[in-house]
Assembly symmetry: C2
Homo-oligomer: 275 residues x 2
């Protein structure tokens, strides 16, 4: 169709579906061709209005851009499959360096990570405002084309994101601490809490602490696997801190109080700063 | 004053202040005498209307009941100080057996734990509806007077709580898992995350996971110290689970996915069940 600006969306889950909804609402694209290995997810994305046309990767021909929004382990293969057919391709994965390493990425591939999510996942939770005021990290390599980078930066700004550029390795190390380690802890904690005899009567602290454990299992298995070195490095640091706190719990209550007070101050400062 | 039903409130923080507000709103008491080691906290409780009269423990004479709402390490001493002056005395501490052990408790002392809180703490966050639809655990001993138990049960029901009775030891073991261990993890995690170079750009998952780390340091140092055996026992279980998940992160992604999926199912079922 002449004049139509089409997006190829590979992976029609929460993040991809939200990008499609948001980009159409912002007028960046007026047509979205969706591709998903799971026909149910694809049908749901069509029903939600995120996808206008269920397609195949071959449908990338004529699209202005391709957004690859699949779990981390599948990103490189999907980018390879569609890159030659579109002027710009970008992903939304939570781990960047392993994807870059697996790809020898073409210059018009822009690695992206919008730091936004919703409990449960799936296109059913997709929202046009998912990226509003949320940080979107772009991790171009030295080989990334500057024009492609600017185009993709424009997409994220159009959907309300706050774009920052960071080295992929630094991003992965930072997110291992701020996102991947908490997920690992929450998964392990829910497992042992359930095993210890039920979760009835848990309070609001438990509810908040474990919310991230309801995340998509495939997405998170891929993230933790891809970023295992960084996450397990940070887990070692946590274990050391827990060892010291455990000792204080057995003896020095004032040392324990002082460490808790320091952590509480950090957390309250974040809240006051509008976390 | 003739006919006045007075409560002696020892400790005018979040939980005590909320109980005073709620009990007056429900008509259980019409006058609250407040006692606090911290004159600022006491003045704030008066300003908030939680306390009608700043007093001394000696003011317990003539009160219908005493509520001891101080950090765990101080409960036994406060109960001892006021018990002889009132027909009924109860506490609100998060750990029960060590308090009972320290007291050789009089029959009219009813150990209580309302499972309700608010980030930050302090009487500034007190609310008359803090206990509405929240679980309140009563842990009477064999020596506890049944009439006193019923009186205190009535107070908690009047302020909207769902009262359950449980053995103190079982309560402490269960809460170690459902509340104390998550707090320990959140304190340790915030400490190492801050140390690793700043928390800027953290997402909503981080915000929820760390919310409990903003808790009151004295309250939580006392809880973790008093319940150290149970908490550290559960921490060992968590370490074992983390060890297995770490191995799967290095190798078997499908095993990792299956374990995450099981945890996610548990968490989502809780959410669906109205956690």
């Amino acid at each position: 169709m002449t004049g139509r600006r089409s997006l190829l969306l590979v992976g029609t889950g929460l993040v991809g579906g939200s990008f499609a909804l948001a980009a159409k609402a912002a007028g960046v694209f007026d047509h979205v061709v969706g591709v998903d290995l799971d026909p149910k997810a694809l049908a749901e994305a069509v029903a939600r209005g995120a996808v206008d046309e269920a397609g195949e990767p071959a449908a990338a021909e004529g699209c202005a851009a391709a957004c690859v929004a699949v779990p981390v382990a599948g990103i490189a293969a999907c980018v390879r499959q569609v890159a030659a057919k579109v002027p710009v391709v970008f992903d939304v994965g939570s781990v960047k360096q392993p994807v870059i390493d697996a790809l020898a990425p073409p210059p018009h591939f822009v690695p992206c990570h919008p730091i936004a999510g919703a409990a449960g996942g799936g296109v059913g939770a997709a929202r046009a405002d998912l990226f509003r005021d949320r940080t979107v990290v772009l991790t171009p390599t030295d080989a990334t084309d500057r024009a492609a980078l600017n185009v993709v930066r424009g997409y994220w700004r159009a959907v309300g994101g706050r774009v920052v550029v960071e080295r992929a390795e630094e991003h992965d190390r930072r997110l291992a601490m701020l996102s991947h380690l908490p997920h690992l802890l929450a998964f392990a904690y829910v497992e042992v809490a359930e095993g210890a005899g039920g979760l009835a009567g848990a309070g609001s602290g438990f509810r908040d602490f474990t919310r991230i454990a309801g995340a998509d299992a495939q997405v998170w298995a891929d993230i933790l696997h891809a970023n295992a070195d960084a996450v397990l490095g940070h887990l070692d640091e946590l274990m050391a801190a827990l060892g010291e706190l455990s000792e204080a719990m057995r003896g020095d209550r004032e040392a324990l109080r002082a460490r808790i007070a320091a952590a509480a101050r950090v957390r309250r400062a974040l809240e006051a700063g509008g976390l």
